[in-house]
């Protein structure tokens, strides 16, 4: 799906949800399609390279992280090779230098939330599963997507790296719309 189509699709979903909610006088309207623009963002390399089983990936093609980086138990690497040793608080402007955000990390090894390569419905069910998502409620997930510096940094990844297919604002609006329409997962 192209970026333009995704943006149009997101706007249409949000508008439809608001209209339906207004007509019914309630906030929740089931919409399995509302997750689709979210899935497109989750599947982008900026999210998918760390939401994986095993060790970190990098690049547009999701290749193994250079210099054989290990995930570590807490998702922050191993002694002497912690993520933050190279990844600074902001992305470097130098080509091929590391992207950055405070507390750069993968999900912990015990809860890797590994949605890379899954269909949208499976991503959705995994995202909502508190046994897999670090115990987060929908409100917690919205807060994570809206404010976690590591998530927000996906839209400022440094030169040579693609952006997710929606703007961050559009992504957050889509996420709210998905929750407001019942947080239904596609089949």
């Amino acid at each position: 799906m192209t970026s333009a189509r995704l943006r149009w699709y997101t706007v249409a979903i949000i508008a439809s949800a608001m209209l339906d909610a207004s007509r019914r006088g309630q906030a929740q309207v089931a919409s399995p399609h509302a997750f689709e623009p979210i899935a497109a963002v989750l599947s982008s390399p900026r999210c998918g390279n760390c939401h994986i089983t095993g060790d970190a990936l990098q690049g547009e093609d999701g290749r193994p992280h250079s210099i054989n980086i290990r995930r570590g138990v807490d998702g922050r690497g191993t002694p002497a090779m912690r993520c933050g040793n190279c990844h600074q608080d902001v992305s470097s402007l130098t080509p091929h230098a590391p992207p950055g955000a405070p507390d750069w990390r993968l999900p912990p090894a015990a809860t890797p939330l590994a949605w890379k390569g899954l269909a949208a419905g499976d991503q959705c069910r995994m995202l909502k599963d508190k046994t897999k998502n670090g115990g987060r409620t929908l409100a917690d997930l919205l807060d994570h997507m809206s404010h976690d510096p590591l998530v927000v940094a996906s839209w400022n990844p440094g030169p040579g790296r693609s952006l997710p297919p929606l703007s961050h604002d559009a992504f957050v609006q889509a996420f709210k719309a998905w929750i407001d329409t019942g947080a239904i997962c596609p089949e």
Partner: protein, 157 residues
């Protein structure tokens, strides 16, 4: 410009400096500590590794602002006379060939041994995987890490 306060190899320093300047540049140009080497400039080779608090950071991509209020140890700070167990182990195993990467290798080793006093080969490989040696001295490095661990456990320091 900003006032950066940092403890360098045990000595408190205050620097009036561009807060975005890479730590490696500060070491070389401002502090005169040239034992830490410039390799790739993009955190890929490990030659510039120093210890900031307890972490083996890549000084070529670390802005000096990150070091504010922290303890910095460079290769010059391991010991004044090459008697630190890691340095003794490196000498005993005759590790360096060209030597360019070795200060980074030793600083990463210091962080590894602080976290894992008796590391396995796999621990060593994981900890030093980001320090590239173009001379290929990896087997000697691994032996030296084991020897340093023994020296430190024996009260070497």
């Amino acid at each position: 410009m900003a006032a950066i306060t940092i403890t360098v190899n045990g000595e408190a320093r205050t620097l009036d400096i561009d807060s975005a300047m890479p730590l490696l540049w500060v070491l070389h140009e401002t502090l005169g500590l040239t034992g830490t080497k410039y390799g790739c400039g993009i955190a890929q080779c490990g030659a510039c590794t120093v210890i900031l608090n307890d972490n083996a950071v890549r000084s070529c991509v670390t802005p000096i602002a990150r070091a504010h209020g922290k303890r910095l140890t460079t290769i010059e700070g391991l010991s004044a006379d090459a008697t630190h167990p890691i340095q003794r182990a490196w000498l005993a195993e005759q590790v360096p060939q060209c030597g360019y990467c070795q200060s980074g290798q030793m600083m990463s080793t210091a962080v590894l041994l602080a976290a894992i006093p008796d590391p396995t080969d796999a621990d060593i490989d994981d900890a030093l995987t980001g320090s590239i040696c173009r001379c290929g001295t990896y087997m000697r490095i691994r032996r030296a890490v084991h020897r340093a661990a023994e020296l430190m456990q024996g009260g070497g320091r």
